[in-house]
Amino acid sequence: MNKVTHIEEAIAAIPSGAVVMVGGFGSPGTPFSLINELLRQGQKHLTLIKNDANEAGIGISKLIEAGRVDRLITTHIGLNKTAIEWMNTQRLEVEFHPQGMLAEKIRTAGAGSFGFLTDIGLGCEITREDQLLDWEGERYKVEMALKADFALIHAARSDRLGNLVYEGSAMNFSPLMAMAADQVIVETPECCEPGEIAPNQIHTPCAFVNSLVLLPLLTQEYAVMEHHVRH
């Protein structure tokens, strides 16, 4: 049960037209190396699902700027003026959800359920008439599960079976996406032997992971971004 795979092979499994979830909230948790390989291989007409669009010139913004992304399902792209420009000029279709609804839609797919009843956004512009359900005397909004063909995940640490550990705020959507996507590709800078991670400290059990790409080193993209440091 060794899931370690070459990055070329892991990413080559993704066809054009695929629906791809990408972990990360801003930079932390963003699988920059997997994204760069997807850019290199040239898959097109992708639908991406990510909390945000990263910032111009890095992460999934590279895919957007290269015209590879037809559609982005997200919650907020305010930090990426390029993505907003692509959206406003109709070169990128963007579907927005409240952040917790996006998380919960993904988690619902990951739990093998099909939708959930909520009151978030009831009466607001984001709610359409056909999403309303009167049930047992109350009115709810039905949010449907959001699945994907692939998930691209960055883990701080893994064993070679694919048990994952996240660090800091880099966890965010990753454990949910690992459950919700049919094929889960993980990049990690640190791969250990099974048993080295305590069983109750594993964030994503290996059952949810299909392939594991070892990063020989963390490039500059993974470093602290100077323009976010206040002096």
Binding site: D52, V94, I126, G168, S169, M171
Partner: protein, 222 residues
């Protein structure tokens, strides 16, 4: 003192020891700079942190740890990290005692608009809708008027609403206003403001507390 400073120094008084709070991106996040270092609060950040704190010293910054505003934060003792589903479960289960949030518009019923200006500004929704709808106490931090001098405190929100009947209190550079069943009650005013001059820059009709305090004095206490 700038308008922003006035608002933030006054906002410090809203933070009670032992509470959990969320600071919206923008003006509220800047409140961090005004909080005393030994304050016993847990700051929730939507990206999966309970116990977020001020920017970390340069040598302790981690590229894997930011708050929802993108700052490389430090954490308090007892901090926890969790996924986005748990993070918003915490919000929707009303475990956040207080959210300070920015506003484009807020109205006399406590309705809040802060996510979209159709045709001009629509970067997404983020966590605002769930925070606004589910936090037991929402305090809006905002300049009293927009940069063109137009009132932001309205009779009825004209922009798409983030959440209805959610705001408890509004803190501006000119006044502190509580949303009450009878309308907006002014409890503090900045030095030099009169009921008439405040009403003149506010669209919603105002009620004035019998003992309206001096906002400027409150600010000096911080």
């Amino acid at each position: 003192m700038s308008d922003i400073e006035i608002i933030l120094k006054r906002a410090v008084h809203e933070v009670h020891p032992g509470s959990i709070l969320n600071l919206g991106i923008g003006l509220p996040t800047q409140l961090l700079d005004y909080l005393p270092d030994d304050l016993d609060v847990m700051i929730h950040s939507e990206n999966g942190v309970l116990g977020a704190w001020k920017q970390a010293p340069r040598e302790e910054m981690s590229a894997s740890l930011i708050d929802a505003a993108g700052a490389y934060i430090s954490t308090v003792k007892g901090c926890s990290f969790f996924d986005s589903a748990v993070s918003f479960a915490m919000i929707r289960r009303s475990k956040i005692d207080l959210t300070m949030i920015g506003a484009f518009e807020v109205d006399q019923e406590g309705n809040l608009a802060n996510w979209k200006i159709p045709g001009k500004f629509s970067p997404g929704i983020g966590g605002a809708m769930e925070l606004a709808q589910k936090t037991p106490r929402i305090v809006v931090l905002s300049t009293h008027c927009d940069k063109h001098g137009k009132p932001k405190i309205l009779t009825k929100c004209r922009l798409p609403v983030t959440a209805y009947h959610c705001v408890s209190r509004i803190i501006t550079d000119k006044a502190v206003l509580d949303v009450t069943p009878d309308g907006l009650l002014v409890t503090e005013m900045a030095a030099g403001m009169t009921p008439e001059s405040l009403q003149a820059i506010t669209e919603a009709p105002l009620i004035f507390a019998a003992d309206t305090l001096d906002l400027t004095e409150e600010v000096k206490l911080s």
